[in-house]
C-alpha cells in the first residue's frame, strides 16, 4: 500500500506543472514575450523619475519616508504583483469563470478547485514586474543576507495577500452577481495605496488600509520591520496576512456551495 501524497504537496506539484506549461506556451511567441517583459519594466521605471524629482524638489523626506523608502515599497509591490500574475494569472478572471459557467470544467477535475483555477493562466508581463522589483531593490536598498531574506519573504506575503484580496472580492460574484469591476478596484486600490508613504494617511482611512484594502499589511508594516527588525510585529503581520488568505479561501468555498452549473460543455486542453 502506498502512502497518499499530502494535500499541500499535491497543490505545489500542480502549480509546478502549470508554471512549466504556461511558461513554455508563452515562450513560443518569443518576440511578444520579450517586448512585454521589457515594456513592463520600462513602464514601471517612469515612476522612479516622478519620485526622484519630487524628493529633489522638496528636499528631505515626506513624513519620515525618503526616496529609498518609497523605492522599497515600489520594489515590493512590483515583486508581489509580478509573482501573483505569473503564478496565479487567472485571478483577475475569477468572476468571468463563475458567471460564464466555466467553473464546471474545474469542478470536474480531480484537483482542489481554487489552486487549480488560479494557477491555470500566466500573465507574461508579470516577469517584467519581477525583474523591475529585483533590479530596483538591488539598486536602492542595503545589500545583506537579512535584507534580501526579508524582501523575498515580504514579496511572497504580498503575492499571497494580493491574490487573496482579489479572490475574496471576486467570490462575491457567487452571492451578488458579477463583482468583476469591484474586485478589480480592490486589487488596484491595495497596490495604489501601498505605493505611497503610509504616514500621510491618518484617521478612518487607516482602519480601511488595515482591513478592507490591506495596503498596510503588505506595505507600511513590512517597511517598518525592514528598517528596524521587530520579531513581534513580524509575527503579527504574518498572522494577519494568513488571516486574509484564510478569509478568501473560506468565502470561495462558501460560494462554491451556492454555485449552480451552467451546463456548459467545454474542454480544457
Amino acid at each position: 500500500m502506498t502512502a497518499k501524497p499530502r494535500r499541500g504537496t499535491g497543490i505545489l506539484r500542480l502549480m509546478g506543472h502549470y508554471f512549466r506549461f504556461n511558461l513554455s506556451a508563452n515562450m513560443a511567441y518569443k518576440g511578444s514575450f520579450i517586448i512585454q517583459v521589457f515594456g513592463m519594466a520600462l513602464n514601471n521605471s517612469a515612476f522612479i523619475i516622478f519620485w526622484y524629482f519630487l524628493f529633489q524638489r522638496i528636499g528631505g523626506d515626506i513624513k519620515g519616508f525618503d526616496f529609498n523608502d518609497v523605492m522599497f515599497l515600489w520594489a515590493l509591490a512590483a515583486m508581489g504583483f509580478g509573482m501573483s500574475v505569473v503564478l496565479f494569472g487567472n485571478t483577475p478572471f475569477i468572476s468571468r469563470v463563475i458567471y460564464s459557467g466555466e467553473l464546471d470544467v474545474y469542478l470536474l477535475q480531480p484537483k482542489p478547485v481554487l489552486p487549480n483555477l488560479l494557477a491555470s493562466r500566466m500573465i507574461v508581463s508579470g516577469w517584467g514586474d519581477i525583474a523591475y522589483g529585483l533590479i530596483l531593490f538591488s539598486a536602492t536598498q542595503p545589500m545583506s543576507l537579512q535584507s534580501w531574506a526579508l524582501f523575498l519573504l515580504f514579496s511572497v506575503l504580498m503575492l499571497l495577500v494580493l491574490t487573496a484580496v482579489r479572490t475574496l472580492y471576486h467570490s462575491l460574484t457567487f452571492f451578488f452577481g458579477n463583482a468583476e469591476s469591484f474586485a478589480q478596484m480592490a486589487g488596484e486600490m491595495t497596490i495604489t495605496f501601498m505605493l505611497y508613504p503610509g504616514s500621510i494617511f491618518k484617521g478612518a482611512p487607516m482602519i480601511v488600509l488595515h482591513s478592507l484594502i490591506p495596503a498596510a499589511l503588505v506595505g507600511y508594516i513590512p517597511i517598518r520591520v525592514f528598517k528596524e527588525f521587530d520579531p513581534v510585529l513580524m509575527a503579527v503581520v504574518v498572522l494577519a496576512d494568513l488571516a486574509v488568505v484564510a478569509a478568501a479561501a473560506g468565502l470561495f468555498k462558501l460560494g462554491l456551495r451556492r454555485y449552480e452549473s451552467g451546463n456548459r460543455m467545454a474542454t480544457r486542453l
Partner: protein, 262 residues
Amino acid sequence: MIARKYATVFGIASRDQLVYLPSFLARNLFFVVVMFVFYSLWRAIFAGNATIAGFTMVQMLWYLTFTEAIELSQTRIFLPISEEVKDGTIAYSLNRPYSYVLFWISRGMGENLVKVLPLLIEGFVLALIMVGPLPGYFRALPIGFVTIVLGILIGTTLQAIIGLLAFWFEEVMPFWWIIQKLVFVIGGMFIPIDLYPEWLQRIARYTPFAFAAYWPATVFVNFSPERVVTTLIGQVAYVALFGLIAAVLFRAAVRKLHVQGG
C-alpha cells in the same frame, strides 16, 4: 455631409457609454480614491510651505483633478483596432464609405466626452471640499474645456497610431504603456512640469505629452490669454501631425493586407 457620419458615430458611442453603469461607477470611485491619495500626499508636502514651484496647495490639487480627469476618460481604442488587425476583420471595414482612422477617433471621442464630464464635475466638488475654490475657475472654464477636449484628442489620435502598429508588431500593449507613462511624467500628469529641474522642463514643455495634460490643466489654474494661445496652437498642431501619421500608416498597412476569400 462627410462630417455628419462621424458625428453620428460620435453620438452612438456616447450613448453606448451610458449603458455601462458598473464600469462608470468603478472609474468614478477610482478617481475619488486617487484624489484622496494626492490630497494626503500634497497636504504632507505643503505643510509649512505656502508655494512650491509657484503652485499653491489649492492650485496643485485642482491641477491634478484636470490631469486625472483627462487620463481616466481615455477609451483604449488601440485595443479594438489591434484586434481587428490581428483577426483580419479590418478587411470588412475597407469597402465601407468612411475613413477607418476617423471612424475610430470619432468613436473614441464620443466615449471619452461622456466619461470626462462627470469626472470634471466630481473633480470640482472634491477639490472644493478638500482645498476650497480655485480663483478664476469660471472665467477659464469655456476655453479650458476646449483645451481639455483637445488634450484628450491628442491621446486618442496617438492610440489610433498604436492600434495600427499591430500590422507590424505582434503585441502593441507595451507601446501604450510607454506613451501613457510619458504622459504621466513628461506630460505632467502626476506633477506639474514646473517642479522638474530646468533642463527637463525645457525638454518636457513642448512635447505632445505636455499638450495632452500639463497645458490644459494650467489653462485653468494659471489662466492667461498667452497661455491659452500657446496651448491651442500646440494642441492643434499635434492633432494634425498625429492624424497625418495615422493616415500614412493606414495607407501603408492596407498595402500589406492580403484579403483571402470573403
